[in-house]
Symmetry: C2
Subunit: 351 residues, 2 copies
DNA sequence: CGGTTTTCTCAAACCGCTTTGAGGCTGACG
DNA sequence: CGTCAGCCTCAAAGCGGTTTGAGAAAACCG
């Protein structure tokens, strides 16, 4: 493997000039630079990361923590982000190293990774309310970007979607179709996004003048069985009048809801409207559900390029508070939503 | 952050002595070593990885390629291995960096990663017959370990299970229960493990004197729908006499088979015996299937610690041909296998 | 044409650690 | 007491880059 010195002797230049030429410094002449670059590609020169890091203090490696549950499984959505992010970072000459963690202390794995003394920064995900990680990393002076929005106006770099709007848009659509009894199967309550969605849901329902009785906002793991179980409970009518529409946190949840409705002999959207938020995970096709699923659509994957770029900018000294993006999910109306069933226009009684 | 030099000046020693004391070299006296270690902990010394790497020529980072399919999804089993492997490597002071690839050239992504000049070695997985990767990496002098066994007696380090025995054990169990019409839903034919399993299956059937007509060895993606579709085809009886037992490549496939059998009103194990190979993926509980699934059991995860250790040993100069392990899957008999149904003991006609 | 900028290039220091080769000190032995 | 191991320690040379301060060459100026 060719080194700077190889190039410099080859060309009769000093290593300093070669280094500058390659790194785009202005002091080096155009002709010299061209010669150097030609020689570099010809000799197959690749900077040695360790040497670069030693000299600059930067490694070109960033980290991410995989949170494992007790059963050793990880969040399915994590891997979609992981793979895309890896590719986006690689395109920007950054490598991503993983670390897995099963513990309860949210910052300990970050601390351990920092001790390995390899990382330039972190990508965080799945923020929770009052997440301790940003404070910890800022105190250590470690750059990071957050996937997801924990609070209004954080002072760090993040990419998120407007989770209040996700539910508000869905409620607005359903209300315009005459629905009054709308229930929500939210994500796991401990995550910030779920908190935001519930707020958006309740606010939009209030705007429409609709009640949300206790028990018709549920939460749980983003799985088919969560949707099935919860929908069965609601639609059996034992908990009071059936909802005429159900909002689902994810498309697998919606699959469960659809199955429950089918099992109960309900037609869609005749008897029940279903709408879900769609993270656009690979291998799940809401458009091919039966009926085709109406969704708010915001591919998780879309966050990766912005996050990668933010992290690069941050590492290059950009002020993190400037590196913030909030996307809005798009509403895609398909066949799973329709007008409220005749005779079911009555809202729930306010408790 | 304290450096070696800080310690050396603090103690009036040279950096060389301090380095040796800390790294356990025999030339340094016990008293000196104790003093150095005390000072190191007192000053909070941490060796600078980059400097160590620059000096030793090793980075402490190994790589792995994630193969993405056209739909951007990755093999589910990959992530189970990935997380466990990451943890096992970290325990041995190695970091794992990923690279994603969607191309057709099997070695190109490895080449690209090598160009980044960051890696000490690779972990490969999912070998195919005549896999070109080992040859490529050996030619480059890059250490690697393989998860899975591509051939009899390769000359590189690998960890695998005896895939012939997986099917042979299953066939032997079923034959002992009187089954004669045994079908196989194998994994994707392009992988080496599937080839081995089919060989094991056919060999064991031959030993039992049982025929395997065309069409009763299928293959496909390791999914529930593969199992459902294939089982439906076989069990409907349109393709000839039903099999009385079905071997499945994975537990999700078995789930599909169970569903198909239920849909057709078949009882298990009364009308049909089912057995699967169980990779022990998190979140899948064959013991809780209905009926509880008989399996050959070999957690993919079990490969990770041996692989990590092999890679460490290899990096430390152990001859790779010595670093080979073949595990044997355990047979766990549960409720999905039983005696052949009365009147169904007749084998298929040899074609 | 001499003097001053500007432009380009270089040698050398440095990052923090490992490793080599040499030398000083100790004690045992003759 | 002189000598020779053996034990300990040291200075110094890398590892492969980046960065500084200075000098040489070229361009500009009056």
């Amino acid at each position: 493997m060719a080194t700077l010195k190889d190039i410099s002797t080859e060309l009769g230049l000093s290593v300093a000039t070669v280094s500058r030429a390659l790194n785009g410094f202005p002091e080096v002449g155009a002709r010299t630079r061209a010669r150097v670059q030609e020689a570099a590609t010809r000799l197959g020169y690749r900077p040695n990361r360790s040497a670069q890091r030693l000299a600059t203090g930067r490694s070109g490696v960033v980290g991410m923590i995989v949170k494992l549950r007790a059963d050793m499984s990880a969040d399915q959505t994590f891997f979609d982000v992981l793979t895309t992010l890896t590719a986006e970072l690689a395109a920007r000459d950054l490598d991503l190293v993983l670390s897995v963690d099963q513990g309860n202390d949210p910052v300990a794995p970050y601390e351990r990774m920092l001790e390995r003394d390899l990382l330039d920064g972190f990508v965080l995900n799945a923020p929770v309310p009052n997440d301790p990680r940003p404070g910890f990393l800022r105190a250590r002076g470690v750059p990071f970007v957050m996937h997801g929005q924990a609070h209004a106006a954080p002072d760090y770099a993040f990419f998120g979607i407007d989770n209040r709007a996700v539910c508000a848009d869905a409620v607005e659509l359903l209300a315009s179709l005459g629905h009054a009894r709308i229930a929500l199967i939210n994500g796991e309550a401990r995550f910030a996004f779920a908190e935001d969605r519930e707020q958006g849901f309740r606010a939009a329902m209030a705007v429409e003048g609709l009640a949300v009785p206790d028990g018709f906002v549920a939460g749980g793991a983003p799985t088919e069985s969560t949707g099935y179980t919860q929908a069965l409970a609601w639609l059996s009518g034992r908990a009071g009048p059936r909802p005429t529409a159900i909002l689902c946190a994810t498309t697998p949840v919606a699959q469960g809801v659809l199955r429950a409705a089918r099992d109960l002999g309900l037609s869609m959207p005749g008897d029940l409207s279903v709408i879900a938020h769609d993270d656009a995970l690979p291998g799940i096709r809401p458009a091919h559900f039966n009926p085709a699923l109406t969704v708010t659509h915001a591919p998780l994957r879309d966050a990766c390029a912005p996050l990668a770029q933010m992290l690069v900018d941050h590492l290059n000294g950009a002020p993190p508070a400037r590196l913030q993006t909030v996307n809005r999910a798009g509403l895609i109306v398909r066949a799973s939503t329709g007008p409220v069933p005749k005779g079911e226009e009555r809202p729930w009684q306010t408790p």
